[in-house]
């Protein structure tokens, strides 16, 4: 059994080496590695995350009046004990992951005037963000829209940059698109 185990570990390591830098095999390994067992070790490089991704939602009432954009799942303030306990980082990271994958798969979303087609709305990453955006609507809300903006700054977010904006959705059933 020993040689077999050693062989498995050697293959695992070799695939990890091949997976670190852009090459013909990298995409193939990513495609086959459904369980994400092959690590990508290039943390915060070459381009570290220098923006916060913020999920913003606005609601429209029956008269078409729009609320201001409000942040959903805001980046949690980190206290002195965050070095020991910090589960909220997973929420921020998930919003970044979902947004980046969505925009990578649908580059047309980078255009602020893009029409969000049914293919985008059917994407699991879009639907996850949509699910989060259904939180906290008031009683008078009829429709809502969400967007992700990238900001810098800790206490006072600044330099907001639109990453993408959703279609308008009915508040009653999030799957029904009206625009």
């Amino acid at each position: 059994m020993g040689p077999l185990l050693a062989g498995v570990l050697a293959i695992w390591f070799l695939l990890t080496v091949l997976f670190q830098w852009k090459n013909a095999l990298q995409a193939r390994i990513a495609e086959l590695d459904r369980l994400h067992l092959i690590p990508q070790w290039t943390f915060f490089a070459p381009n570290p995350g220098t923006y916060d991704f913020r999920l913003m939602v606005r609601v429209l009432d029956g008269d078409g009046e729009s609320s201001p954009w409000n942040e959903v799942l805001p980046v949690a303030h980190r206290g002195p004990l965050s070095g020991l306990w910090n589960p909220e980082r997973r929420i921020n990271k998930a919003i970044v992951d979902l947004t980046q994958r969505l925009v990578r798969a649908h580059p047309s979303l980078a255009n602020p005037d893009a029409i969000v087609g049914s293919d985008v709305q059917a994407a699991p990453n879009y639907r996850r963000l949509l699910a989060c955006a259904t939180n906290g609507h008031g009683d008078r809300a009829v429709r809502f829209q969400f967007m992700v903006v990238a900001t810098t700054g800790i206490e006072m977010p600044e330099d907001p940059r639109l990453v993408f904006k959703s279609a308008l959705h009915e508040t009653a059933g999030t799957d029904h698109v009206t625009a």
Binding site: M1, G2, L5, A6, L9, A10, W12, F13, T16, V17, Q20, W21, H36, L37, P39, W41, T42, F43, F44, A45, P46, N47, P48, G49, T50, Y51, D52, L73, V75, H77, R78, P80, S82, G83, L84, W85, P87, R89, R90, I91, N92, K93, A94, V96, D97, L98, R101, P124, N125, R127, R128, A131, C132, T134, N135, T152, G153, I154, E155, P157
Partner: protein, 272 residues
Amino acid sequence: MSLLDANRAAAALVSLAVALWSLEFLSLSRQFEPRGVFSSSVFDSTRTRGSAVRAFVLRGVASPKGLRLTLLLRLAAAVVIAFATAWPGILSLALACAIATGVLLSYRCGAGGEGADQMITVVLGGLLAGSLAAVGGGSYASAGLWFIAAQCCLAYCAAGIAKLGSPLWRSGDAVVRVMKTASFGSTRMWKLMSSHPLLGRVTCWSVIAFECLFPAALILPKPLMYGLLLAGAAFHIAMAFVMGLNNFVWAFLAAYPAIVYCNERVGAMLGR
């Protein structure tokens, strides 16, 4: 450091990482509800296609009760890993359970993973291979530790080389700009680095140098190797308290006993 001691130390540290992982996800249970960022409604419709067994397992972990049970099972496996190193059979089961639940839960979440999760899987995988080899008679029992050590060196080195190729890191701006984000930054550190640009450059180049040079830990004389590992521990603890990357501490320190073990074997080969 003996093979058993290295395995024990790695198992104790990785069990802390697995326990913290499980407890943090248990505390995020609201995010697994239909309006959460790990919503199961999306998961149900998009991820449970395929064989009946696969669909059964994935539907089970998609339900709130199944998810909680899986997280508790992973937590229990962490406790067993910490205390069962003398019993390779039980240890193998607990390690396999921790790997399987980790893979399943990461698949279930679909987003929000981090590098620490990858290192946890690597350490668990190496320890599992070692304990299975012990069950099977003991040949190649150290292969798992060599694997963990090699992955740990690759992890730092690949990260260092990628940073070296980035103008943002070479200029010293990378750390300053990361410090200006709410997700990973710190107002105090950002103000300090903005007013002292040299500090940003020194920090960036220190990280690049440390990461690129880390593989030398395998061949350095013991005092220098311990110095490098202490620098690594300080680096991860600083990242935990400044950037909130708390589980990198336990995940990466779990690989260090393998570095010590392999350094001693390399030293013996070199006649030190």
